[in-house]
Amino acid sequence: MLIRSTSGPADILPSEITSRALFEGRRRFLARSGLGLTAGAALWYGLGGEARAATARLSAAASPLSTDEALTGHEAVTSYNNFYEFGTDKGDPARNAHRMSTRPWTVTVEGLAARPRSFGIDELLKLAPLEERIYRLRCVEGWSMVVPWVGFPLAALLKAVEPLGSAKYVEFLTHYDPEIMLRRPILQWPYGEGLRMDEALHPLTILAVGLYGELLPNQNGAPIRLVVPWKYGFKSAKSITTIRLLERQPATAWRRTAPHEYGFYANVNPDVSHPRWSQATERRIGEIRKRPTLMFNGYAEQVASLYQGMDLRTYY
């Protein structure tokens, strides 16, 4: 058993200073036993300075919505990212995203709601009980991962602002600061994404604030990002600053750039191939051989009913 014993402020309890190997063992145990991680309120961020960020542990309950598939390694999850604001090479976000300051941070929820308002990040971290959600992540480029996110249902935030009956869509706008991000207009900045209201309220849809039991690294979309596990990864907007409740379907970043390649729905679908990539198979990061891609990324049982009667070739 490994215990990390040196780095970290003195007021962190020894029980909080957990190596990743230990954490994973504990996580697996908890996932099996269905218990929550309860040891300590570990929102160190709220208590102190930068130094704590590196070791801040999140207290999160295991979820029955998690998969028990083998996790993709922490190194791969945090070094192989698409976050075009920081560069288009997969390694660029890990190299450049440290320039982004994620404190203070507010998320403004506006539009068709009875109580639209802004939320500070500390408030968001306490808005709903945090859960660990181990989800498959399928990128439109044909690779996939299994990521242990920490977050809470987007529905919890939406309910807090009381959406009006006329609100049919949710738009997500993300942080854009030309001082620290790409200026070339590769995509229209800020990056925008959207969901239909029923998709946004679906229990699988979460706002993630952490992964591997720690606060999100910047390259993964700190401090708060969307995760919609049955859709291609580009739907899951990172570093969100604004959420809008709308009557009409919003324009979205990749669809603006190449509407014949990227649809609004972007549901993982092995039968509808992308002009550049067959979507029938995928390479799980860490594996050599490809594996078949599952309908709705394996979440068909939970989400197929949302699309009943829709032609998924038209609404790709």
Partner: protein, 226 residues
């Protein structure tokens, strides 16, 4: 310029060739070591496919740069490196193709056929590779002799088309950021533009210099400007 660079001896040329040969192997060595040591990132197959593809394109452009370099530097021996550089372009292309067929698709011939037929960027890359094969096959002195210089030369002019296809392949496979393919396209445009310019110069020269008629077996028509 040191004298041996102006007019190297046979031994010096052999040495230069050996040095260039090993330099050309370095990217492959680097990738092979990276593969063995697991330092090619989270998706080593993608890294390998992309790196071998980009090196193929680089070697094609380096090969096309030999003539201009020779012409403007006066280093005529550069021409003696061209065959080796061209063969390296082919070697990296073959490695790129193998990375795709073996590592990426794992000999799933149905998926490969679909890719080539359905995806324009793959079709174009495939065409470039197929066109490279006869050039590699006729790279020897014996082949030049067999074909005759003129036929050999017109066959090998297809390298221009191959380079254009290669840039299109890159252009089409990029999702959104066209900067890199644009830079390669620019370099290729300069290299091809120089050829067009040389042709034009040659045409003008032929117009202005009265050809020594006794060397020609056909009547000469001369256009004289008023």
């Amino acid at each position: 310029m040191p004298n041996f660079l102006r007019a190297p001896s046979g031994a010096q040329i052999a040495l230069l060739k050996a040095a260039v040969f090993f330099a050309c192997l370095l990217p492959a060595l680097d990738l092979a070591l990276g593969w063995r040591n697991g330092t090619l990132g989270a998706n080593p197959i993608e890294t390998l496919t992309r790196a071998s593809g980009e090196w193929t394109l680089r070697f094609l452009l380096i090969t096309l740069a030999v003539s201009p370099l020779r012409r403007y530097s006066g280093l005529h021996w550069l021409l003696r490196l061209r065959r080796m550089l061209g063969l390296f372009a082919f070697t990296y292309a073959a490695a790129h193709f193998m990375a795709y067929i073996w590592l990426d698709q794992f000999f799933d011939w149905r998926a490969i056929a679909h890719d080539i037929l359905d995806r324009p960027f793959i079709a174009v890359g495939f065409a470039a590779f197929v066109l490279l094969v006869p050039l590699a096959a006729t790279s020897s002195k014996a082949a030049i002799r067999r074909l005759g210089g003129r036929r050999w030369q017109s066959l090998h002019r297809s390298v221009y088309a191959i380079a254009i296809l290669a840039v299109i392949h890159f252009w089409w496979l990029v999702k959104a950021d066209l900067l890199k393919p644009f830079i390669y396209a620019l370099i290729l445009a300069v290299l091809l533009g120089l050829r067009a310019w040389w042709r034009e110069l040659e045409r003008r020269r032929q117009l202005s210099v009265p050809p020594p008629a006794k060397h020609l077996d056909r009547p000469v028509i001369r256009i004289v400007q008023k």
